[in-house]
């Protein structure tokens, strides 16, 4: 039986000035003689841990501790590419005399994140475009298409022309509707959508997105069909601004770092990672202690490795590099999920877990069918 210290040591990825060591995990069967590392649900339940650091509506950070990189990475990839959202897909440009070309304007429209009733969005069906196998595709219906309209025309304010002649250049004092914002997009509910989106209509998650600028006489009139899709098809459907993880850094001070060196050491890291503490009388007088004779001086202590960016700056200084060992914990994933506004961040993560579960069940069924 191996001790906990040895197990903990195996979890650390070594970080040196130019190299990274001990990268791959070794907790699988056949790796260590006499040890059984086969996957066990009870063991996983006992050791797995989730810790929230912050959980704002659209920005959450949490740690998943005690799982394999393959699973953590699966969650990240599902978050980015497979959790569905609704985005504008087809646009009918009836009029566009703005400076921005139809193609570019339509591309911009697609990238605007939309929100609306969660229940309604969950209820929405997929819209299948026509392809070789099914040239017709889905028909447009109330359950797979949200209709949005953008109709806006710029005009002079009362007396604006006169002010322009007199040298006024501030567009806010001259024109009306000269900035087209995402809030100008009007939702047109059809059929069942009228009741399903009654309390929480489909609208831009960020109403202040600037879509285009207009000048008097220019106008935009478009009709847009928003549909459900996934990030693997197009990035506009991705529900996250980004979802990422990093491994928890470790800093081990091997030999005491004292006095001016301690201050220099602390400056090698972001604020709050390394703290300075005075060496106590007891430490300074103990026989054989590394602090002997340094009573009252400052020593460097590790305060919060979570804040570290692992810049390796401390390894560039000759007086520090042999006194410290940097590393990362291989099974401690610090996730950061930033939502674009359609779903809440913590909700999104649960959605990714659900999707991975469905994938696993599909795999299981396929394997069962193979064995029959």
């Amino acid at each position: 039986m191996v001790g906990q210290a040895e197990l903990d040591r195996r979890k650390i990825v070594g970080i040196n000035a130019e190299t990274v060591t001990n990268v791959t995990s070794t907790d699988f069967p056949g790796q260590w003689p006499g040890e059984d590392h086969s996957w066990d649900l009870d063991f996983f339940k006992r050791t797995f841990n989730v810790k929230f650091h912050s959980n704002d509506q659209f920005d959450s950070s949490f740690s998943l501790i005690g799982l394999d990189a393959s699973v953590a990475n699966a969650f990240r990839r599902i978050l980015i590419a497979e959790v569905p959202t609704v985005a504008i897909e087809d646009i009918f440009v009836i009029h566009n005399t703005s400076i921005i070309q139809d193609e570019v304007l339509c591309h911009r429209m697609g990238l605007i994140p939309f929100r609306g009733s969660r229940e309604g969005l969950r209820w929405m069906h997929w819209f299948q475009k026509g392809n070789d196998e099914d040239p017709e595709g889905s028909t447009h219906n109330d359950y797979n298409v949200c209709i949005l309209n953008l109709q806006i025309e710029c005009a002079w304010q009362a007396g604006g022309q006169m002010r322009a002649v007199n040298g006024e250049t501030d567009p806010n004092k001259l024109y009306n509707n000269h900035n087209v914002y995402a809030r100008d997009i009007i939702y047109e509910p059809t059929g069942q959508q009228i009741t399903r989106f009654a309390d929480d209509p489909v609208r831009a998650a960020n109403p202040d997105i600037l879509i285009a600028k207009l000048r008097p006489g220019q106008k935009i009139n478009m009709r847009m069909y928003a549909m459900k899709g996934i990030g693997a098809d197009h990035a506009k459907f991705s529900p996250v601004a980004t979802a990422s993880y990093r491994l928890l850094p470790t800093i081990d001070i091997l030999k005491p770092i004292i006095g001016p060196d301690a201050e220099k050491f602390a400056r090698c890291f972001p604020k709050g990672v390394i703290g300075l503490e005075p060496i106590t009388r007891e430490e300074g007088q103990r026989e054989g202690s590394e602090y002997k004779g340094h009573e009252g001086e400052m020593k460097a202590v590790v305060e919060d490795t979570m804040r570290d960016t692992v810049s390796r700056e401390c390894l560039r200084h000759a007086e520090l590099k042999d006194k410290v060992k940097l590393g990362r914990v291989r099974d401690h994933f610090i996730f950061k999920v930033e939502s674009t506004g359609q779903w809440e961040s913590d909700e999104l993560f649960l959605e990714s877990v659900k999707l991975l579960k469905i994938k696993a069940q599909r795999m299981k069924r396929a394997l069962a069918a193979l064995m029959r």
Partner: protein
């Protein structure tokens, strides 16, 4: 509900049909921005300022794009 059904009057939106002489076409003056309506054979000239550069307006015909 299937696809987009353009308004029936789309084709003749910028051109207004008048009796006898045929259609008149709307332009915009390049100098004073006034709307100028011209018939076939008329001099190309703004009625309010006399400027001789007129801009044709964008068609009202619908164009479909994919937001990608």
């Amino acid at each position: 509900m299937s696809g987009y059904v353009p308004p029936t009057s789309t084709a003749a939106a910028t051109t207004t049909t008048s009796t006898g002489e045929g259609r008149s076409v709307d332009y915009t003056c390049g100098d004073c921005n006034a709307a100028v309506s011209l018939k076939r054979g008329e001099p190309i000239r703004c009625r309010s300022c006399g400027h001789r550069v007129l801009y044709k307006q964008r068609t009202n015909r619908m164009v479909q794009f994919e937001a990608r």
